[in-house]
Amino acid sequence: MLEVIICEDNTVQMSNLKNLIENTILREEIDLKVTLCTGDPHEILDYVKKSSVTGIYFLDVDLKSNINGIKLAEKIRDIDSFGFIIFTTTHLEMSYMAFKYKVEAMDYVIKDDDDFKARVNGCLLKAYNTYYKNNNKEEYISINLDDRVINIKPEDILFIETSKSPHKICIHEENRQTELYGNLKDIQEKLPGNFYRCHKSYIVNKDKISEIDKKHNTIIMTNSEECYVSFRYMRGLFS
């Protein structure tokens, strides 16, 4: 069940935001409720810990309490890893990217801006749609080792290779390369069947193979990147 939780210590702004959201909920007829609206971050943390909900959080960056909005967001992210965090602020200059990387924040809205209303609505609807597109979640595999959570769509992966450094693997997609700790064996268990271990250092996505060069033992992928296939595994590739 998706819930909306607001943390804002200025009462005027808080009721403003609450009304805005409730109006949107009514107007768009979506299944949401503002379950908690407070200026005390500890209250929010207790609530989230107790009820283990997935929430859409509107957090004020400058809270006058001893935890500021960012620390609060970090703690919330520890408990609720699927929630949507949106920061509200009056500052003109926002560290959007820093928030995105630190707590996977979805977006931020500037309180005194003209399009404050439009942005809040936009964020709300986007979070709602993302949550209820269940098939979207299944498309992603979540790799959660070592405190880094990486979400990748298996259908985007071209191949995975081990890096020169020990314990490191690199996932190659069409538009992205991601390095992380791991070994090929563990990763292969999380992947669907179309991934084939074609070499000691490579797992390849058979759907993304463009051609196979048997003479040089290489596989050419759809983006013309090359990876090796070892003699042992060559036959299994064709099955």
């Binding site: 960012i70 200059e93 560290s95 959007y96 990217m97 820093a98 990387y101 630190k102 070592d146 405190d147 880094r148 890096s163 020169k164 450094s165 020990p166 314990h167 490191k168 190659h172 538009n175 992205r176 390369q177 991601t178 390095e179 992380l180 983006n223 013309s224 990147e225």
Partner: protein
């Protein structure tokens, strides 16, 4: 028969003593450093000791210096534990030399080839003496705790002491021994001098002096490089301070004008002249800051970077971007204290990626660069994002050495970055392209050692 004789001669006279001296050396190492010494590492020192011993045993003036130089260079080439190997060579020298002196002292004779019995006796005596000294040293130092770290000048003086002490002892002993033999030897003493002293001592002295010279030269080169880098860093920090001061004075100007503008407002409010108030406000106050040269780059956010060399590099690149009219935003909101990577490597990587970002975004009409550094759980993450114009970069190609979209003889930057990141077990680099933004993330895991 001849073969047998030769074999006999070789084993007895040439190989016997070096072999035992080598074993003695290994035993003394084991006594002195027993705990931290693995048995399988004994092979190397023993081998060196054995070879050096044989060379010295030949007693040939022409052979010793060149052979020893060859052995020394060969061992030093392999790089590891240079000092340990040098120490090995010098110790063997010393041991053989003492052994020889013992023989001369006790037999009062001059031998071209020392007979078997005398060899055995001399070696056993050598063993006893050396092992005794080692045990004494070990017990003497067992109680003291040498835990404090020596700085480089202390190390240098210690090294010079360690090398010069045996050297001086050896030179000191030369004269009395010669004199002693002159008086007491049954046969000519000249043989001993030419057999033992000159072939062994002169090469030893030469080698030690050469090593000291090389060591000092190395150190001076290292110091020069360090000095140059520190001067660079200082210059970069100065430029950074200049920009910050400019920003501050712009802010002060604005504040000053701002205060001046509020005073007439008070007049209008007191006289309740809303119309004039409105006019005044919309004409003067609302756009008051349009003439102020705001620097919206947040370069002052670099105050959160506590790693000094890194901060200097970042500020240089940001300033360079600002001067090229690139809209660069620095996003930092918490202290970045320690980064588990060598500062030089970190600066090199940052420099290369920033240069690329600047060059790429310049091609756009509205160049934009985002630079963000955050602490995320155990990681320090640095993200550099820039927009680009033209063809989408092909990620696997850009890291290949020699690949460049900017002409020939270029393209080593990103391959260097990859090389450096690969050499660290705790560093990762992620690259992605989305829309017309090109993003590179550097994740460095904190290693608690």
């Amino acid at each position: 028969m001849i073969w047998q004789n030769i074999l006999n001669g070789v084993t007895r006279f040439l190989v016997g003593r070096p072999f035992f001296v080598g074993i003695l050396y290994c035993i003394s190492i084991w006594i002195l450093f027993g705990k931290s010494f693995q048995l399988n590492k004994i092979k190397n020192p023993f081998l060196i000791a054995f070879v050096v011993g044989i060379i010295l045993e030949t007693g040939s003036y022409l052979l010793i210096l060149p052979l020893l130089i060859v052995v020394t260079i060969n061992e030093l080439k392999n790089g590891e534990n240079k000092i340990k190997k040098l120490v090995t060579i010098f110790c063997i020298y010393l041991l053989m030399y003492i052994g020889d002196i013992l023989i001369i002292l006790f037999t009062r004779k001059d031998y071209l080839y020392v007979p078997y019995k005398i060899q055995v006796i001399s070696i056993s005596v050598l063993y006893v003496i050396v092992i005794f000294i080692c045990i004494v040293i070990k017990n003497a130092f067992l109680n003291k705790k040498y835990k404090r770290k020596f700085n480089s000048s202390e190390i240098r003086s210690k090294m010079i002491l360690i090398i010069s002490l045996p050297l001086s002892v050896v030179i000191m002993l030369m004269a009395p021994v010669v004199l002693f033999m002159y008086r007491n030897s049954e046969e000519g003493y000249l043989v001993s001098i030419f057999n033992i002293i000159i072939p062994q001592i002169i090469p030893l002295i030469v080698m030690i002096l050469i090593n000291i010279i090389i060591y000092n030269y190395d150190k001076s080169v290292e110091n020069e490089v360090k000095l140059k880098r520190e001067i660079e860093e200082k210059r970069e920090i100065e430029e950074y301070s200049k920009i910050i001061e400019n920003m501050y004075s712009e802010t002060r100007k604005f504040k000053h004008d701002y205060m001046n503008m509020l005073v007439p407002l008070k007049e209008y409010i007191d006289s309740e002249n809303i119309l004039e108030l409105k006019k005044f406000f919309y004409e003067n106050i609302l756009d008051m800051d349009k003439n102020v040269n705001w620097n919206s780059s947040n370069i002052d956010k670099l105050k959160y970077v506590k790693v000094l060399g890194f901060k200097a590099m970042l500020s240089t690149k940001i300033i360079s971007a600002i001067s090229k009219k690139i809209d660069i935003k620095v996003e930092l909101m918490e202290d970045i204290n320690g980064i588990a990577m060598n500062v030089m490597d970190l600066c090199r990587i940052t420099g290369i990626i920033m240069d690329n970002a600047i060059e790429a975004s310049e091609q756009c009409e509205k160049p934009k660069i985002f630079l963000c550094i955050v602490n995320k759980k155990d990681y320090v993450v640095m993200v550099i994002q820039n927009n680009y114009f033209g063809d989408k970069p092909v990620i696997h190609k850009i890291y290949k050495e020699g690949f460049s979209t900017k002409g020939r003889d270029r393209g080593i930057g990103l391959s260097n970055v990859k090389h450096i990141v690969d050499s660290y077990e705790n560093a990762f680099i992620n690259t992605s392209v989305e829309g017309n933004m090109f993003t590179q993330e550097l994740w460095i895991k904190n290693t608690f050692s």
